[in-house]
Symmetry: C2
Subunit: 380 residues, 2 copies
Amino acid sequence: MKKKYLLAPGPTPVPERALADMALPVIHHRAPEYVPILQEVRDNLKYLFQTKQEVLIFTSSGTGAMEGCVSNLLSAGDHALAVRGGKFGERWFDICKAYSVNVEAIDVEWGYAVKLEQVESALKKNPEIKAVFIQASETSTGVYHPVKEIADIVRKRNNTILVVDAITALGVVNLPQDEWGIDAVVTGSQKALMLPPGLAFVSLSDKAWSFAEKSNLPKYYFNFKKEKKSLEKNQNAYTPNVQLIVGLREVLREIKEEGLEQVFKRHADLANATRQAVQALGLKLYTVDKPSNALTAVWAPEGMDAGKITKLIREKYGITIAGGQDAAKGKIFRIAHLGYSGYFDVITAISALEAVLKELGYKFETGAGLKAAQKALFGE
Amino acid sequence: MKKKYLLAPGPTPVPERALADMALPVIHHRAPEYVPILQEVRDNLKYLFQTKQEVLIFTSSGTGAMEGCVSNLLSAGDHALAVRGGKFGERWFDICKAYSVNVEAIDVEWGYAVKLEQVESALKKNPEIKAVFIQASETSTGVYHPVKEIADIVRKRNNTILVVDAITALGVVNLPQDEWGIDAVVTGSQKALMLPPGLAFVSLSDKAWSFAEKSNLPKYYFNFKKEKKSLEKNQNAYTPNVQLIVGLREVLREIKEEGLEQVFKRHADLANATRQAVQALGLKLYTVDKPSNALTAVWAPEGMDAGKITKLIREKYGITIAGGQDAAKGKIFRIAHLGYSGYFDVITAISALEAVLKELGYKFETGAGLKAAQKALFGE
């Protein structure tokens, strides 16, 4: 018997009560029993997004809602700016390209956050830029970009919006859409929302909605105006994944019960403990500036293939963590602590990591990582 | 206690074993344990589609794959033909319009199948037509269009493909893609595949793939070439709905175990019994030519609002059937018999229908519908 642990930055573990709810027979999405479920979900999504806007729901992975932000907010020939400091920044760039948007990139070294001056100067150089695309938490590098400060810059320009991929940030760190004036916030179901993959969400500011009015790019399934109109009648435009909506009701209740402030503090505590622990083992954080609280990206010890760590930790101890992607492949491993995660998930991850590093011949004082995590979590 | 029955044309009931499998903790879509699941699913989808082609899998509702057929197979300014004989035929037309395709429609009266001469003459009149879009089973009217014969017509034209929305047809009636030479077959998870909504599928012929090579319309999430390339490496391009893929493994096993031939026969038997029963009650079939085996669409008795039937049958007996959509709203009701459906679902539907019609004041001989259904299912 090998007990299984999912500690990757998405999909993440699903709370038992949500799994149970989703195992119930399917209900029809136009039947009266669906009405209060969707209503509650819509209300609580506003709480999660910290917005008074309608949060759009799509049956797709997060990428679908990202694409929708391009096809619904821009028009043919528009100019855009993408912060490209990881795999998901590249995705913003690629989606813009697919729609023939004149996109330019700010290339940021992997592991680093974009500098405000870079954004300011790019916007100054090209006053035609209508949208800035960025990740809040760039999952491939573990970087948290300075969303609030960038929102302050973009807000001053009447004809530019800020579109934030918050797929591993929303429900992890404080990201109050209305207060900060973020024009579009995207997330997915399989991260801090603690559900299986299959739902994507996006919420727009009034300014972004005015862009949507003018957009002429082709769209059909990811049609923001159509979905908003349907949701305001408490319906989904197209057949939704009913099971996930039922699960969503439960996880949103759990988030609301814990309270956003405590949810953010929990993630910060877990992230801090994980960072302390890996550094106590003599390992180096991959994320230089500034680490996301969703996951901790770590360089493998000098000369060691990171793939060996992720493989051994899975095969021997049943724990799924993530390796590096693209440029970081084989060089780093990533331990997630987002969603349905608690103190002992960190302790488990560090314990297994110590065991695996020892087996792979890396030298350190046994228990040093655990001791650091324990101190960080519970005090000296 | 009111026992619940889902007898609508999608979502449909999910087999208990699939529900149980989907209630298990989420596995990671890049982990080794996902590999044999996706491999088995890919193999068995080929069995279901009766094709040697890779069947593409998207996390979305069926509409997403329909949109993908337009954006991946056509180019800006191309000409297309849509058979518009119901709500879903309209959808083909609308998607083409959204992508600025020069689409013309064959308008078919609701309740009727398109005539072969209509297709032939439209194609003759406009030799530029590159794609014919049609439903196999038009769910809004219960009509089965003559797919095989239309495929015979389209196949003769080197520069035209036939794209079939088989969302309520695949796994209901025989629709052998390769043998009939259908260029694109679309389906969704929540119909004969007996799963919750959330997955869409599409399989292309070699001819359609050659169209995909030339297409220049914008696409990103529904990128057929990208998804094919990923699947050939036994991966999904974007994070898939893992729970539904796990459920899909189970339902495809069940379909394979029953055997396609028997699956089709079962649906034909249930459809026939339902049609016999409603007619024995003096009701008129809405579908004149030719009824789909997925569902039976029926006119409400003269002067009776069909909405009363669907409402009462749900509220009093816990049974969800469907009303009419758009033009047919309030006029018809639709009883589905697709997917995880058996003899006694028909018996249950007819028993409840009799009870409700009686309560609403319609005159008929009690038990006449049941008697007809019983004879049809079990012999005289």
